[in-house]
Every structure is written in C-alpha cells, then in structure tokens.
C-alpha cells in the first residue's frame, strides 16, 4: 500500500475574485513507503501549498489525500498529527520557546495521542532516552535538558525539532525548507542529520528545498513543480548522477520555458 496518495488536488486562493489564484492545478502524487522526495520549484510554483494541503493547514475542497489506508482529506492539522510530523522553515516554529528541551521532547513523543491529566508530562524513565538522542546530535545538548528551548540557537532548535519529529516515527515526515533560515554550515549539518534520521527509521518524507544541489544529493526521488503542476518527476536511478544543469534542461523540455537558476535558488 502506498504511504501517501494525493489525487486531483486543486487549490484556489480568493476564488471568484479578480485576484483568483489557481495555485495547484490537479496534483496526482503517490509515495511508496520509505520514499524520500525532494520538491523544488520557483516562487509560486505551489510547493508550500502542496505541503500545507498534505499537512492540513490549508483546507482541501478539490481532490483527495490519503495517508496509508486513511482518508485525511477533511481532517485538521491536529487530527492528522498522529500520522504526520512536520519541521518548519522558521527554527522558532517547531518548538515551544518557554518550555524546556525535555518538555518539548515529551510533547513530541505523544504526538497525536491522548494526553492525560494525571500522568507526568516529563517522565523520569524518558530522560535517559532523551539524553542519548540529544548526544547523537553532537551539539552538547544532552546536558541542557532543563534549559528553556528559546535560549538555544536556530540550528540547535532545528536539530531538536527534527529529533522531535522522528522520536515517534511518523507515517509521513514533512520538511518545509527546514534548512533555509540557517547559515550554510549549520544548514549542511542539519541536512546530514535529516538524512540520518530518515534512513534510520526508513521514514516516508516530503521535503521542500530551495537548494537544487540538496535536492540532487538527498532523497531517492525528485519532483519539480511549475505553476501548480508536476513538471519533472525523477525516481531512483533516473536521479543518479544528475547535475543542476541537467535539471534546468529537463525543466525546459517539460514545461517549454526557460528556468532561471536564480529563480529557484533564491526563492
């Protein structure tokens, strides 16, 4: 059974007004379990709209979304959370700043599950696990379990957010340009960490990136969106050995227009 099925997904913004924007024009996408898909595309191509539709933060009125055997088309973000974990572009967005590192981790550990009002939020027996997981990041965070997470740097917070997302393996992991707000070196570290965590549990992943090289280096499938449609879809072997120049040429063949490298890189 596929991990994710998106069928005939359309999204319109300000429908019926002069500003109408047909952001997604019938997306059909099927992800097999364990597929790690990088999504690229210029400004307004529909990358974020697609991800937000899958996450549930934009309501779906045209089309269908299934995760595993469950139809989630009409479920909200919180309801879908038992299946989906998400890392946002803004490092601040994925954590609760006034809560401590261990409190954030505990929250994420119960993602999508019922929360009791008699059970301790942070359990003693989990601390060893948290410490071990944090130590594996190599950022020295294992000694800062009780520090408010708002005190950590952007890169540290993003690394913890990734850990939170994979603490309880999701059916689907959504990465929304999650390295875009970081400096190049931290960005590379977080990207490697992503690959590690995803591979360790073979998590089905949808990653938006503005970085074509990252899209080529990471993941086993690459999708390029253009004006709300899938313009290029490369799997496994087709993706091997490809260069940025190849991608640009492919894009031109498929969409009939020139793609300025900067338009992708800088968007």
């Amino acid at each position: 059974m596929p991990a994710l099925v998106v069928r005939e997904l359309h999204q319109y913004f300000e429908k019926g007004t002069v500003n109408e924007n047909h952001a997604l024009k019938g997306i059909d996408l099927t992800l097999e379990p364990g597929e790690f898909v990088a999504i690229i595309g210029g400004n307004g191509a529909g990358k974020s709209t697609l991800l937000n539709s899958v996450a549930g933060s934009i309501p779906v009125t045209h089309g269908q979304i299934k995760i595993g055997d469950q139809d989630v088309t009409y479920q909200n973000v919180a309801k879908r959370a038992r299946l989906i974990a998400r890392v946002f572009q803004d490092p601040k967005a994925g954590t609760a700043p006034r809560l401590t590192v261990e409190e954030n981790l505990s929250l994420a550990q119960k993602r999508g599950q019922w929360r009791n009002f008699w059970a301790n939020g942070v359990k003693k027996r989990d601390r060893a696990l948290f410490r071990e997981k944090l130590a594996s990041l190599g950022l020295g965070l294992e000694d800062r379990l009780t520090a408010e997470i708002g005190l950590l740097s952007g890169g540290q917070r993003q690394a913890v957010t990734l850990l939170m997302a994979t603490l309880q393996a999701p059916e689907l992991l959504l990465l929304d340009e999650h390295t875009a707000a970081l400096d190049p070196q931290t960005s590379a570290t977080v990207m490697q960490l992503t690959a590690q965590l995803v591979a360790a549990q073979n998590i089905t992943t949808l990653m938006i990136t503005h970085n074509m090289q990252d899209a080529l280096n990471y993941g086993n499938r690459l999708i390029m969106l253009d004006h709300g449609r899938i313009a290029v879809d490369l799997k496994g072997d087709q993706k091997q050995g490809l260069t940025v120049a190849d991608l640009l040429r492919l894009f031109k063949e498929q969409s009939g227009q020139e793609l300025n490298d900067d338009a992708v890189l800088l968007s």
């Binding site: 973000v77 919180a78 929360r115």
Partner: protein, 299 residues
C-alpha cells in the same frame, strides 16, 4: 502599623487567587480575558445566595467556583469556536453576567448576616483577620499546588505549548481550542472562587463588586514580575501572592494618607499604568546614565 500589614496580608491572599486566575489566561495563553469582572461577582453572588438559602459554606464556595468555570466555558467557546476576538469575548460574557448575577441574587446586594456560617467561621483563631489569613492561606496553597501539578502533566504541558506556539502544538496533535477552553475554565473558576471568598469575608455580595478587579489582579501580576523576572511557573505563582499583598499595602497606605475613597479606582488605574510603564522607564533611565558617561568619555 502591624494591623495594616496583617489586614493587607489577609486581603492579599484572597486577591492572589484572582490574580493567579488572571495569570493563566493573561500570561499562559497570552489572552486578555475581561470575563474576570463578571465571574468575580458571579462567584460572590452564587455563594451569597447559597449561604442565605442554608447551604453549607464549603459547598456554597464550591458552587461559586464552578459557576465561574461555566462562565469561562462560555467565553472559551465564543473565542475558539466562533472566532470572536478575545477582548470582545470577555466584554460579551461580562455584560451578560451582569444580568445573570442580578437573577441569582434577586437584588443588587445580598448581605450575609452575622449568624450565617462562612468558610472563615470554620476556623476560630479568636480574630476575624487571622481566620481569613488561615483559610485564605490554605486555599492559595491548595490552588498553587494543584496548578503546578496540572501544568506539569501531559495535558498541562500541552496547554502551555498552546500559549507558546500554536502551530507547534497543532502539529503535535494538540487540540488548541479544547486546551484554551480548559484554561479559560480554570482561570474563571479561580476568579469566581476569589469573589466567593471576598463576599464571605466582607459579609456581602454586590452586583458592582467586579468593577476594577481586573486592574487589581493585573497589578499584582506586574508587581510580581517587576520584583523577580523570569521565574518557573510555581515560583511565579508564589510571587503573585507577594505582589497582591504589596498592592494591598500600597492601597492601605494611600487611604491612610487621607485620599478620598471615591478616587480609589482612578488611583488603581494610574498605578497599573505606572507599573506597566516601569520596565521601559527603568531602561530609559539606564540609557540616559550610560549616554551621560559616554559623553564625558568622548570629550
């Protein structure tokens, strides 16, 4: 002098319960909930009515608090399910509660005669003020204890996350609306409890006793935050008691100076404005000082 201190402590303890209630919405959810000024007299009205009708003081107090929680439920639903802005939600519920309180009491003021048993007459230390301190102290301790436990449970962590970062809490499967409603109910339940206790210590419930209470509660919170910055949740709640006592002391001192009691609410408002501006003023003064030194260095 000692009398003033002791009476300020007794009053401060009761106000602290209200301030802690306000703190839950104001700081944890970052919502300005004006329901407070309706749920405070609601707690007083329910308890006074129950006591006069012969209900025991513990049960009458509990009913008062539950009434407040119900008012919180109304505001919470209006705000989360109907998406009415928090400030308007509070005004709506507060306005509606005015009539509700009038229905409950049947008239604008209900006096508790001396022979009516209150929670404060459950103990007898030979002095009404000390009774208030004992009962009020036990109540505040129970409230803080229960809140600290709750906000460290799985659900409590969820509630704090909602106040911190709603995108994050939703992405982790927390129902933001439900959590907000729970906090609304806790908050207004405590505020009504404070109103209920206040009616019992003052010996009456009055329709207009809610006016200005939000300012008193906020002042206690802000004083606590000025005294000590950045505290953990439990310690912050304890400093709010100190904030409430200090505020009562200031009021007592002002009245002692011969200020017209009719001017008291104007004074409440001015003082809260001052407290709110204090951090900025402190920063300005410090910057002026640094600039003065810098000018001399640069001469």
């Amino acid at each position: 002098m000692l009398d003033i201190l002791i009476s300020s402590i007794s009053q401060g303890l009761l106000w602290a319960i209200m301030a802690i209630g306000v703190y839950l919405t104001f700081r944890i959810l970052d919502i300005a909930d004006m329901t407070a000024e309706g749920s405070f007299p609601l707690g007083a009205a329910i308890t006074a009515h129950q006591l006069v009708s012969g209900t025991g003081p513990v049960l009458a107090t509990l009913y008062g608090a539950l009434g407040g929680a119900l008012a919180g439920l109304v505001s919470g639903v209006l705000h989360t399910k109907l998406k009415i802005p928090d400030l308007l939600t509070g005004i709506l519920t507060m306005t509606g509660l005015y009539s509700v309180n009038l229905f409950i009491m049947g008239r604008a003021n209900v006096s508790l005669l001396a022979d009516v048993k209150t929670v404060f007459s459950l103990v007898d230390l030979g002095n009404a003020t000390w009774d208030t301190i004992l009962v009020g102290g036990v109540m505040v301790t129970l409230v803080i204890g229960a809140l600290v436990v709750f906000f460290n449970t799985e659900m409590g962590l969820g509630a704090r996350a909602v106040g911190d970062n709603q995108a994050m809490s939703a992405a982790n499967g927390i129902n933001n609306d439900t959590m907000k409603i729970i906090v609304y109910m806790l908050s207004n339940g405590l505020i009504a409890l404070s109103g209920s206790l206040m009616a019992q210590t003052n010996g009456y419930a009055d329709l207009s006793m809610g006016i200005g209470t939000l300012v008193i509660a906020l002042a206690a919170i802000i004083i606590a935050e000025i005294l000590v910055r950045n505290l953990s949740f439990g310690k912050r709640l304890i400093t709010i008691i100190i904030g409430a006592v200090i505020y009562r002391l200031i009021i007592a001192w002002v009245l002692d100076m011969g200020v017209d009691p009719n001017a008291l609410r104007l004074f409440y408002a001015l003082m809260l404005a001052l407290f709110l501006a204090l951090p900025l003023i402190q920063k300005q003064v410090k910057q002026w000082g640094e600039r003065r030194e810098n000018r001399q260095r640069m001469l």
